[in-house]
């Protein structure tokens, strides 16, 4: 697709594209913030559990080693009866354990049998830390300290819940802050883009008007030259022929006088044709004579007859009484588009012209069923159509039609035409 737009609309469209950037930023923030939230959620609870677990192991090892040290001395002094002496130590340690996490303290002999089998068998799930009673050949048994990590785990889980919520809140907060900042920045960018678009549009319109005035001057010079070269020559010839006629009549040669009079009439007809051609270059005469719809209908009839195409024209809304600049622009655009169809739209058999008024806007659409392959950069005629639309604050697009052919679309603004009606705007 190839598209030509007015500068303000193009810039405004670029500004609207900023919303997509915000969405893109949001989508990229999600994985980053997810990782951030995960790290925040798990780091503290895991560190808490890991450090707590290490502390429990150290505490359990300390308790086991202290008990083993006492029992080793007993075992050395009483190799046979130390196990009975260990009962009071174990009973005491069970009751006044070094840590609330120490749930069980047990002593086994070398065969792994419990010294004190009076108590219930320990439950599963404890973390067991051991210390040997004596060493080497003097080893008598083992002290076992069973540690319950349940409370530590529950606290770590509690922390995990709290930190997960905190992480989600933090991530949401960062997400919101980032997007709001981006939205504010975009809003500012949009304002600047609109401002730039307006300035660009103004500059573009000034340039177009300057070009139009220049073209107008060139057109006037051409018309003056035509009037001088053709109409002026014709009138000079008329004057000469009138003097010849006078002299012929004074000489009484009526036969020759009649021939001269015919020559004068023929020259006058030529002069009239020249004048009409010049006037037509200033403004399509059919617009004044017939109005926009009939003038466009006549254009369509001409093309139908000349190029043997099926041309339809369709009009909607109140199209009479439009500003002259809009009428002329609409007529010229249709005229140029039909000319392009005849010249370039190979294998075209049908072309439709539609002009509609929608409020303060006139919409023009010309569509053919030719080969298409529209190229908006091609030709002065297309550029001329675009400039006419832009001059009136509108837009112009040229694109391939579906399923084939070319679609020319122009939008003309009536209020812009009214605003510029006070200036010297060309209407050729």
């Amino acid at each position: 697709m190839s598209e030509l737009r007015g500068a303000p609309e193009s810039l405004a469209s670029s500004a609207r594209g900023q919303d997509e950037l915000v969405r893109e930023l949001a989508s990229r923030l999600v994985p980053t913030l997810s990782i951030f939230a995960f790290i925040v959620a798990v780091s503290a609870p895991l560190a808490y559990f890991w450090m707590g677990d290490r502390e429990l192991r150290q505490s359990g090892a300390g308790t086991a080693e202290q008990a083993a040290e006492v029992l080793a001395r007993d075992a050395e002094e009483e190799p046979l009866l130390w196990r009975y002496d260990s009962l009071k130590l174990v009973e005491h340690l069970r009751r006044f354990r070094a840590s609330t996490y120490v749930e069980r303290i047990e002593v086994t002999d070398l065969e792994g049998a419990l010294i004190d089998d009076r108590v219930e068998r320990p439950r599963t799930g404890l973390l067991w830390i051991s210390a040997p009673i004596g060493d080497g050949p003097r080893r008598a048994g083992t002290v076992w300290v069973g540690i319950d990590r349940g409370p530590l785990r529950q606290r770590a889980l509690g922390l995990l819940v709290v930190f997960s919520l905190l992480a989600i809140l933090l991530a949401a907060f960062v997400h919101r802050i980032a997007l709001r900042s981006a939205a504010r920045a975009e809003s500012r960018i949009r304002q600047l883009m609109h401002s730039l678009a307006a300035r660009t549009a103004d500059a573009r319109i000034r340039a177009l008007r300057l070009e139009a005035i220049t073209n107008q001057e060139e057109e006037r010079r051409a018309i003056a030259r035509d009037l001088h070269d053709s109409v002026g020559q014709s009138i000079t010839a008329l004057r000469i022929h009138a003097e010849v006629l006078s002299m012929t009549l004074e000489a009484g040669d009526t036969t020759r006088a009649a021939g001269v009079a015919k020559t004068i009439a023929k020259s006058a007809d030529g002069a009239i044709d020249e004048v009409r051609r010049s006037l037509a270059r200033l403004r399509p005469l059919d617009l004044d004579d017939l109005g926009l719809t009939s003038a466009v209908t006549r254009l369509a009839d001409d093309v139908r007859e000349r190029a043997k195409l099926e041309v339809t024209s369709d009009f909607e809304g109140e199209l009479e009484g439009l500003p002259a600049s809009v009428e002329t622009a609409a007529y010229r655009i249709v005229q140029e588009a039909l000319t392009n169809v005849v010249r370039h739209a190979g294998q075209a058999t049908r072309v439709s012209v539609r002009i509609a008024r929608r409020g303060e806007r006139v919409e023009i659409d010309i569509e053919d069923d030719g080969l298409g392959r529209a190229d908006s950069a091609r030709g002065r005629g297309i550029r001329g159509m675009s400039e006419r639309a832009e001059m009136l604050g509108g837009s112009f697009t040229l694109k391939d039609a579906s399923p084939r052919g070319t679609h020319v679309s122009a939008r003309l603004l009536l209020d812009e035409a009214g605003a510029s009606s006070g200036e010297e705007t060309p209407s050729v």
Binding site: V42, L127, A167
Partner: protein
């Protein structure tokens, strides 16, 4: 929502990791239930073992018994506590157990025979450098709580505690208001050092400046002759005061045997109950129980 899903998934992984951290060793008793090993001593010898409170008197009695019967083979072991004595006697590891407290309910199921033989005063012992010779029950409690833990000359008072269940400490706890709670708190908070043997207590009292500990009169005489035996609320820890009921802190010593003792055991118990044995007990700082039942512990049927 997608972010919440991922955060939830990762948090779940983290949660599972809390349960996946290494579990440590697995004790053999967690895998299979093994029978408790039985200790076999020489059947020809009479092995005596038990509470350290008995040892001073028992060793003196055993030595005198050997003088009477040169063929008698008696072995008096170091302290294994009253609990150990009951268990060892029940196992048959020793011939005679020495206890300083009544049998507990679960211990009665072993069918052991209890033979009380002496009552000994419980003593409050101080480090030899301590000038104080008297201490009030309220001071015991306050110092145990750490409120006023110093002697009158300003020396810091350092309690040397015995393990929970020690007969001497429990006797004091039963008779001094607030002592049991203070002792419980001190043990739970690990405020003071805990000793598990009478000889450790003796070494501690003699070695730790400002030390205060609970022992008994025979041990005080035998192992801590230089350490002052404190009066409690103005009453001295003497057998006479115990006998007259003025000094309520004492413990009763007894032998426990599994069924009827063997010949050596019977002979030894007879010697303990003899005039000579009773005299040895009195000389060692104890009150010999009268077989006739004049003086018997409340927890033993005459």
């Amino acid at each position: 929502m997608r972010a919440l899903f991922w955060v939830g998934l990762l948090a779940l992984v983290a949660t599972l990791s809390l349960f996946a951290i290494e579990r440590g060793e697995v004790p053999p008793f967690m895998e299979t239930q093994r029978p408790r090993a039985r200790v076999e001593t020489h059947a020809t010898d009479l092995h005596l073992a038990g509470s350290g409170s008995n040892l001073v008197l028992t060793r003196a009695l055993a030595a005198a018994f050997r003088l009477q019967d040169a063929d008698a083979r008696l072995v008096v072991h170091d302290s294994i506590g009253s609990t150990g004595a009951v268990r060892a006697a029940a196992d048959g590891a020793i011939g005679v157990g020495l206890i300083a407290r009544p049998l507990r309910d679960e211990e009665r199921a072993h069918g052991l025979e209890v033979t009380p033989y002496a009552r000994i005063p419980i003593t409050f012992m101080a480090h030899p450098d301590v000038r104080d010779r008297d201490i009030a029950g309220s001071e015991l409690v306050a110092s145990l709580r750490g409120v006023h833990a110093q002697w009158h000359d300003g020396t810091p008072l350092v309690w040397l505690l015995r393990e929970r269940g020690d007969a001497g400490t429990e006797s004091v706890a039963a008779r001094v208001t607030g002592f049991a709670e203070a002792q419980q708190e001190a043990l739970a908070t690990h405020r003071f050092r805990v000793l598990f043997h009478d000889d450790d207590m003796a070494r501690g009292i003699l070695g730790v400046r400002g030390a205060l500990g609970i022992s008994d009169l025979p041990a005080a005489r035998a192992h801590m002759p230089t350490a002052p035996v404190l009066m409690l609320d103005g009453v001295a820890a003497t057998c006479e005061n115990v006998r007259l009921g003025r000094y309520p802190f004492y413990k009763d010593l007894a032998f426990v045997t599994r069924g009827a003792p063997g010949p050596t055991g019977r002979a030894f118990l007879a010697f303990v109950a003899s005039e000579e044995g009773r005299a040895l007990i009195e000389a060692g700082g104890g009150i010999a129980f009268d077989a006739s039942g004049e003086v018997l512990p409340a927890w033993v049927s005459p």
